[in-house]
C-alpha cells in the first residue's frame, strides 16, 4: 500500500511539473536593465531576410544604441511565413512587434496592423506605397520590390535577327500563328504576339531546327505568385481585374485572350508539359539548362542567371527587357506594425530608421532590392538589374487593386484559371468561374 501511495504521489508530482511546463515562461516587459528595449521583427529566410539581417545588425551596433532599442530578427520558414503570421494575428498575439507583409496581403492583414503615420515615404516608388495603402491608410513600409522582366538568350535572338533564312522561317511561322508575316524584332520591342511567335520559333515542335527544345517556360502551377505573372499578360492586352466601376472583369475579351495565349503556348508544345507545375525555381532551372530561349521571370532571377558559378552554360548570354505587352506587376515586400505588439513606439522608431536612404543603401549593399528609385540608381554597380528595375517600375509598373480579399483573389484566380492555362478546362468556363469568384470576393 505504501508503494502505491508513493507511486500516486510521484504521478501527481509529474502532473504538476507537466502543467508548470505548459504554462507561460513568464511575462514582464521587454526592457533590459540598462533601459534598452527589445523588439521582435519577422523576416523570411532567403536574399531579403539575409539582407535585412545585415541591416539590423548594423542598426543594433549603431543607431540602436542611441535609440536604446535592440531588434531581434525572427526568421520563419520562407514558404509558411504568412501562414504562421496569420495564425498569430488570429490569436491577437503581441509577442512580435513588426510583421513581414506584402502588397498582396496587407488588405487582408489590415485588421491586425497599426496604420503608419508620420513616417516619410517620399523616397519610395509611389506605386509601391500605393500598393500598401488600404482605405487611405498606409499599413506597411515598402522594403523589397519585385517585378517581372523578359529574360532572354541574347546569343539566340541575335542569331535570329542577323540570319535572313532564320528570319524567313520566323516570318512564315508568324503567318501561320497570327495571320500576318511579321519580321523578328529585338526583345525590348516585343509585344505579346511577338512573344507567342518567338515561343513557337524556338520550339522544336514548331521549328525542328530550333536551337532549344522549348521557346519559353510558362509558370502555370496553381499558385498565387503565378497569377501575378499572368496578370502581366492580362494588363498587357489592355485588361485588368476590374472595370472602371470596380466590377470583376476577367470574363472580358482581354481576359479570355490572356488565358488563350497561355493555353495556345502550352497545347502547342512551346513550353514544356511539366510547366503545368512550374514556378520560380523550375523556370530558373529551365533557363539555366539552356533548353529554353526566354521567359517572363521575377527581377531577382537576373543576377543568378548571369553568374558563371550558378549558371555556367548561359552566364553572360542573358539579356533583360521589359515584359512583352509593356506592363509589369509590382509588389513590395514590406514591414508592418503589429496592432497588438507590446512595444509599438520602439517598433515605429525602427521603421522610421528603415525608411531612410542610408538604411536602404545598406540593404541594397547586402543583396536586397530596395523600393527607392534613387538608391537603386546610385548602386547600379552592385546589380546591373537595378537600373532596369528602377526604370520599369517607374515607367510601366502597375499594382493590382487592394481590397480586403486581394490575397485570396490571387489564389482563387490561380485555382480557377490554372486548369485552362494548360488546356485542361475550357477558357470560357474558366474565365466565367474566375469572374464570378472574383466578384464574390470584391463584394465581401
Amino acid at each position: 500500500m505504501r508503494s502505491s501511495r508513493a507511486i500516486a504521489i510521484g504521478a501527481a508530482f509529474l502532473t504538476a511539473v507537466s502543467l508548470a511546463g505548459c504554462s507561460a515562461s513568464g511575462g514582464g516587459d521587454d526592457a533590459n536593465a540598462d533601459g534598452t528595449e527589445t523588439i521582435k521583427m519577422v523576416a523570411w529566410p532567403g536574399p531579403e531576410g539575409d539582407a535585412m539581417a545585415k541591416v539590423i545588425d548594423a542598426y543594433n551596433d549603431g543607431q540602436g544604441k542611441k535609440d536604446k532599442i535592440h531588434v531581434e530578427l525572427v526568421l520563419l520558414s520562407r514558404q509558411d511565413t504568412f501562414s504562421k503570421e496569420t495564425a498569430l494575428m488570429a490569436s491577437k498575439d503581441g509577442d512580435l512587434d513588426i510583421y513581414w507583409t506584402a502588397s498582396y496581403n496587407v488588405g487582408q492583414f489590415s485588421g491586425s496592423l497599426e496604420p503608419l503615420e508620420g513616417i516619410d515615404t517620399s523616397n519610395y516608388f509611389p506605386v509601391a506605397v500605393d500598393g500598401l495603402t488600404y482605405k487611405d491608410e498606409l499599413y506597411a513600409l515598402p522594403l523589397d520590390v519585385s517585378n517581372h522582366f523578359l529574360l532572354y538568350r541574347t546569343d539566340l535572338i541575335d542569331t535570329l535577327l542577323n540570319d535572313p533564312a532564320a528570319a524567313a522561317t520566323y516570318s512564315a511561322l508568324a503567318q501561320d500563328i497570327l495571320g500576318e508575316a511579321r519580321q523578328p524584332v529585338p526583345a525590348d520591342q516585343w509585344d505579346l504576339d511577338d512573344f507567342q511567335v518567338m515561343a513557337a520559333y524556338f520550339s522544336t515542335s514548331a521549328n525542328p531546327a530550333s536551337p532549344t527544345q522549348y521557346g519559353t517556360i510558362l509558370q502555370a502551377k496553381n499558385l498565387l505568385y503565378n497569377t501575378m505573372i499572368w496578370n502581366d499578360v492580362l494588363w498587357g492586352l489592355g485588361g485588368s481585374w476590374t472595370d472602371d466601376d470596380g466590377k470583376a472583369a476577367i470574363d472580358t475579351a482581354e481576359g479570355k485572350a490572356a488565358v488563350q495565349l497561355y493555353a495556345d503556348i502550352y497545347k502547342n508544345g512551346w513550353t514544356s508539359p511539366d510547366s503545368a507545375q512550374a514556378e520560380f525555381p523550375e523556370t530558373q532551372a529551365a533557363l539555366q539548362s539552356g533548353n529554353v530561349a526566354f521567359a517572363i521571370q521575377w527581377s531577382a532571377a537576373f543576377a543568378a542567371l548571369n553568374d558563371p558559378e550558378q549558371s555556367p552554360d548561359i552566364a553572360g548570354k542573358i539579356g533583360i527587357a521589359p515584359v512583352p505587352g509593356g506592363q509589369t506587376h509590382v509588389h513590395a515586400l514590406s514591414l508592418s506594425l503589429n496592432k497588438y505588439g507590446d512595444s509599438q513606439d520602439a517598433a515605429k522608431t525602427v521603421l522610421s530608421y528603415l525608411a531612410t536612404t542610408d538604411a536602404m543603401t545598406a540593404y541594397a549593399q547586402a543583396g536586397g532590392i530596395p523600393a527607392m528609385p534613387e538608391v537603386l540608381k546610385a548602386n547600379v554597380d552592385l546589380n546591373p538589374a537595378f537600373n532596369e528595375v528602377a526604370t520599369s517600375i517607374a515607367d510601366y509598373g502597375y499594382a493590382e487593386p487592394v481590397f480586403p480579399k486581394t490575397f485570396q483573389a490571387y489564389s482563387k484566380l490561380a485555382e480557377d484559371l490554372s486548369g485552362a492555362w494548360v488546356g485542361q478546362t475550357s477558357v470560357d468556363d474558366a474565365v466565367e468561374t474566375a469572374n464570378a469568384n472574383l466578384q464574390e470576393l470584391l463584394d465581401q
Binding site: M1, S4, I7, A8, A11, A12, L14, T15, S18, L19, C22, F82, S83, T86, A87, M89, A90, K92, Q108, F109, S110, G111, S112, I217, A220, K221, N222, L223, L224, S272, P273, D274, S275, A276, Q277, A278, E282, A285, A286, S289, N291, V292, P404, K405, F407, Q408, S411, A414, E415, D416, S418, G419, A420, W421, V422, G423, Q424, T425, A430
Partner: protein, 303 residues
C-alpha cells in the same frame, strides 16, 4: 490467505484506493489529452459556429453560416471526393503490396536484411522533404529521372495534367507501402505455425491455406494496418501540396489542402473549422466499428 478474511468494507476501501491510484497514475495522460486533444477539439468545434476571419475577429456566433457557405460552392465536396477516391486507391494498393512483401520477407533468402532495410527507407523520410525531392527528381526540365529515361528513348512528362494524378498515386504507394508491410510482417512473425502444418497435413494447398488460415487469423492485424493507413491517406497533405499545390485547377486538391487554404490563404478560420468538423463527423462513426474489428480475437472478429 488473508483475502478470504476481508470484510466488505475493507474490500470497498481497497477498491477505492486502487481506483484512486489508477486515476492518479493516468492523470498525466488525462491532462495531456485534455490540453492537447479535448481543448483544441472543443475550440475548433466552437469556431465552426463563429464568424472568425482575419478581418472580423469578433468571433460572434453565426449559427450554421459557415456550413452553408461550405456547401454553397462545390470546392469542398470536390476536394472531399478526390480525397476519398485517392485514399481508397492508394490504400488498396498499399495493402496488397504490403501483404505480398510481408509474405516474401517471411521466407529466408540471401540479402534479406539489406532488402528489408531498403524497403523501409521511404517511411524514414519526412513527407514534405520527399515532395521536394520528387519535385527536383521528376521534373521534365531539370529532373534526373526524365533525363535518365531520355537516354533509353523514353520521353516522359510526369507533371503534365494527364499524368499528375497517377504520379501522385504512385508516389504515395512508394512511400507508404513499407508501413503496411511492416505491420503485416510483424503479425506474420507471431502467426502460429502449427495451423499451417495442420492444414498441410489435411491436404490444403498454398492458396487454400492463405485464404482460409492466414488471412482470417491475421484479420485484426490487417484491419489495424488498413485503418491506420486510411486515416493517414484521408488527411494527405504534404507531398501533394509541395508538388502541385492542389492543381492544375483543383484537380488534386485534397480536403486537407482545402482546409489549409481556407484558413491560411483566405483567412477564414470559421469556414475552415466547419470543413474540418464535417470531415470529423463523417469519419467518426467508422472508428468504433474498426476498433471492434481490430480488438476482436480469432477468425470472425465479431463480438
Amino acid at each position: 490467505m488473508t483475502g478470504s478474511a476481508l470484510t466488505p468494507t475493507a474490500v470497498r476501501t481497497h477498491r477505492r484506493r486502487r481506483s484512486l491510484t489508477a486515476l492518479l497514475l493516468a492523470s498525466p495522460l488525462l491532462v495531456f489529452a485534455a490540453v492537447f486533444v479535448l481543448y483544441p477539439l472543443i475550440t475548433g468545434a466552437l469556431t465552426a459556429f463563429q464568424a472568425s476571419t482575419l478581418l472580423d475577429q469578433s468571433n460572434e456566433f453565426n449559427g450554421v453560416d459557415n456550413f452553408v457557405s461550405l456547401f454553397k460552392n462545390d470546392g469542398f465536396l470536390r476536394s472531399a471526393g478526390f480525397t476519398v477516391g485517392f485514399a481508397v486507391v492508394v490504400v488498396a494498393f498499399e495493402m496488397l503490396l504490403g501483404f505480398a512483401l510481408a509474405l516474401l520477407m517471411n521466407r529466408a533468402f540471401p540479402g534479406k536484411k539489406l532488402f528489408f532495410t531498403l524497403v523501409l527507407l521511404p517511411i524514414m523520410v519526412a513527407p514534405a522533404l520527399l515532395g521536394i525531392m520528387f519535385r527536383l527528381l521528376l521534373n521534365g526540365d531539370i529532373g534526373a529521372v526524365p533525363a535518365l529515361l531520355e537516354q533509353f528513348g523514353l520521353s516522359v512528362s510526369l507533371f503534365a495534367p494527364s499524368s499528375v494524378v497517377p504520379l501522385l498515386v504512385v508516389l504515395d504507394i512508394l512511400q507508404w507501402t513499407p508501413f503496411t508491410f511492416l505491420i503485416i510482417y510483424a503479425g506474420l512473425q507471431s502467426f502460429p505455425r502449427e495451423l499451417l502444418e495442420a492444414s498441410s497435413v489435411d491436404g490444403a494447398g498454398r492458396f487454400r491455406s492463405l485464404f482460409h488460415i492466414v488471412l482470417p487469423t491475421l484479420a485484426p492485424v490487417l484491419f489495424a494496418a488498413f485503418f491506420l493507413r486510411m486515416i493517414d491517406a484521408l488527411r494527405t497533405f504534404d507531398v501533394i501540396y509541395v508538388l502541385t499545390a492542389g492543381g492544375p485547377g483543383t484537380t488534386t486538391t485534397t480536403a486537407s489542402i482545402y482546409i489549409y487554404k481556407t484558413a491560411f490563404e483566405a483567412g477564414d478560420f470559421g469556414k475552415a473549422a466547419a470543413a474540418a468538423l464535417v470531415m470529423l463527423i463523417v469519419l467518426l462513426p467508422l472508428v468504433p466499428f474498426i476498433v471492434r474489428r481490430i480488438a476482436a480475437p480469432g477468425k470472425d472478429g465479431a463480438r
